[in-house]
């Protein structure tokens, strides 16, 4: 094995491996990360969002009686009561339009923001509220 071969095998090849992994790790654009990176103290300029738990019996039932017959509206049947304003009690949303969203617990923020500011304050029903508060 000549000197050149030795250098190639024992120096250049390991260096190439190191450089490859360094580039994959640190060079920008190698890894697209959707979403934001929150740092404490930076302003929060996103629309308010309200996440709620998934309703217990939502996405599994096939289309049947009481579902909307709209062709191609969804793979799963949707209860016809959603559209008429008196959805199931599980899916309460900001604008009172029951969003017992089939398989989705995300409420679009823009609609929520308008609805929150539009309504009048609702007195708390059924006794005192509890809770806690924290800052960081």
């Amino acid at each position: 094995m000549s000197v050149v071969e030795t250098l190639l095998v024992f120096v250049v090849a390991p260096l190439a491996v190191y450089v490859f992994f360094w580039a994959m790790t640190y060079l920008p654009g190698g890894r697209k990360r959707p979403g934001i990176r929150y740092k404490p103290g930076q302003p929060w300029e996103h629309e308010p969002v309200w996440y709620e738990p998934q309703p217990e019996n939502a996405p599994t039932h096939a289309a049947g009686e009481g579902d909307t017959q709209a062709v191609g509206s969804s793979l799963y049947g949707e209860t016809a009561a959603i559209g008429s304003g008196h959805g199931s009690g599980h899916g309460a949303s900001l604008d009172g339009h029951g969003s017992s969203a089939v398989g989705s617990s995300v409420i679009a923020g823009t609609r929520g923001a308008t609805a929150v500011s539009a309504g009048t304050p609702v007195p708390s029903a059924g006794g005192p509220l509890g809770g806690a508060r924290g800052t960081w």
């Binding site: 300029e45 969804s74 059924g126």
Partner: protein, 150 residues
């Protein structure tokens, strides 16, 4: 002859199906992986305890507590629901428990969960803090059957 091909693209979503469409970008704030963690934490803690945990992330205005209580009353089933209202811009978190939920989640337990959440938030980990806080709250609340036995 080519007029048929000039059809405008249209959105076939109705009022009900439009919020469920998958081609809208829901991952503007959190990535889908983080959304899945939040979704699982909210859903599982709600199912385990029988309470209704909801999470609000956004600005709470100058009077954060009052705004959080308004939001809590606006959600469905306010007596049994627990609202975690996080305002990252103001660095405030408010936990609001309804009257029935407050019997199973005393304020001390909420304060402890809030403390652990603010620790994570100060380190920049919003989702991890929320998930851990939900875990603490649901552990404290326990199952609805064991709560009913006493």
């Amino acid at each position: 002859m080519t007029r048929v091909l000039d059809a405008e693209p249209h959105d076939s979503g109705t009022v009900d199906t439009a919020p469920n469409r998958a081609d809208q970008g829901y991952d503007t704030i959190f990535s889908y992986r983080e959304l899945a963690r939040l979704d699982e934490a909210l859903t599982m803690s709600s199912r385990e305890t029988g309470l209704r945990f909801t999470l609000y992330i956004g600005d709470l205005g100058p009077r954060t507590r009052i705004r959080a209580e308004e939001l809590h009353a606006r959600g469905g089933d306010p007596v049994d629901s627990v609202l975690l209202a996080v305002s990252p811009g103001q660095r405030v978190i408010e936990v609001v428990t309804g009257a029935s939920a407050a019997r199973r989640l005393p304020d001390r337990a909420c304060a402890l969960a809030v403390l652990s959440m603010t620790n994570s938030f100060a380190a920049g980990d919003l989702v991890g803090g929320i998930v851990n806080g939900l875990r603490q709250l649901s552990d404290q609340a326990g199952h609805p059957h064991s709560a009913r036995r006493h």
